[in-house]
Symmetry: C2
Subunit: 218 residues, 2 copies
């Protein structure tokens, strides 16, 4: 526990978090369930703050980049959790302390252990200190949705999107614009956007088309 | 907001949480991302407490039962969120305020709004008060894994599992038992379990077989 910026009041919790199921029961599997959820919320909040203009889809995508087995194993190695794992003899021989999944699970369990030991504020602080540099390293998508959509289509040699104003309504000082964005390749997609300016409506429509394109690729 | 046991310091947050994307931007989509994660952790903790013997797989399954679009829409209706939704004119005409997905999303967003308004403790209390009765209503699986596996197989007319002790090691006062559990129908599955008693090892092996059977059915 030397590397984690937290000192456990109840060291048994830390021990449990580092006990792999190969060592028998009780082990860290239940803590892992709780820790996964805690990581999810703390990283969600970090991204929510750091990317005030990102859509829900973008936030989800960014979180999946930061919170997955491989990424968590990197953190677990920085914390040198491998040296402190309690493994069964089989896993010990086959080098389980180096395995991504075992390391990632132990890290998740450790996050839950901090929560149970000291509460949310402490757990959040520990997780934020680990993830803040990673969130800061994400290139801030300064490009707007229309630009990203155009670049994506051009990169594939597909035709550019067509934007069309379909409606505008409301008083002059509070007008609302309805715009469609339409592409033909790789398949026909048409989305509507609404905004207080034509440009804002176009951005929203482009964002929706981009998301649908990304969903196709997933 | 009359039905939610929480009074917002910043009513604009509640307004935002109840604004569907059909009403333009800003809307509740980003809050929904955060709220989904918050619900996940608070319900995870409730289940972790209420089911101290449930495996990670069982906890995940129970949470998916409680936190999904349909279940959240039920809560949203109890809170009468439909009456307070801000929808675009299209959704308004087509009855969007009655739609499960729109109601569930608004509820998630509202959970995030409470968090941003007052912090985790308050948000946790609100979510717990809504989910505690639901968690309490889950039939407590008092049956152990061996019994559940046996009942499942008997119910389908499949042969009963075979348990076999494959190894025991360690000093007499701290012996470890390795046991296999094997079934033939609906397909051959064999799992190992380890424990400080033969019975404990059998339970663990049965649990793994049960989980694999459940994965097959998903």
């Amino acid at each position: 526990m030397t590397r984690l910026a937290y000192r456990f009041r109840d060291p048994a919790l830390a021990q449990l978090a580092l006990t792999h199921r190969s060592a028998g029961k009780p082990n860290n599997e239940r803590l892992e369930f709780l820790g996964d959820a805690l990581l999810g919320v703390v990283v969600a909040e970090l991204l929510y703050e750091a990317h005030p203009h990102a859509s829900e889809g973008e936030l989800s995508r960014l979180r999946a980049q930061l919170v997955n087995g491989q990424a968590l194993a990197v953190i677990a190695r920085e914390l040198e959790l491998g040296d402190e794992l309690k493994l069964g003899s089989g896993e010990l021989k086959s080098g389980g302390f180096r395995r991504d999944s075992i390391l990632a699970d132990a890290f998740e369990a450790l996050v839950a252990a901090v929560y149970l030991d000291a509460g949310f504020a402490e757990c959040r602080a520990v997780v934020r200190s680990l993830f803040e540099p990673l969130v800061a390293a994400i290139p801030r998508s300064s490009k707007d949705a229309k630009t990203r959509l155009q670049e994506l289509l051009q990169g594939r040699g597909w035709p550019l999107p067509q934007y069309e104003l379909v409606d505008s309504h409301g008083e002059d000082h509070a007008k609302t614009f309805d715009v469609t964005c339409e592409i033909t390749d790789p398949m026909p997609i048409r989305a509507e956007g609404r905004g207080s300016s034509r440009r804002a409506a176009e951005q929203e429509a482009a964002e929706t088309v981009l998301r649908q394109l990304q969903d196709l690729q997933d």
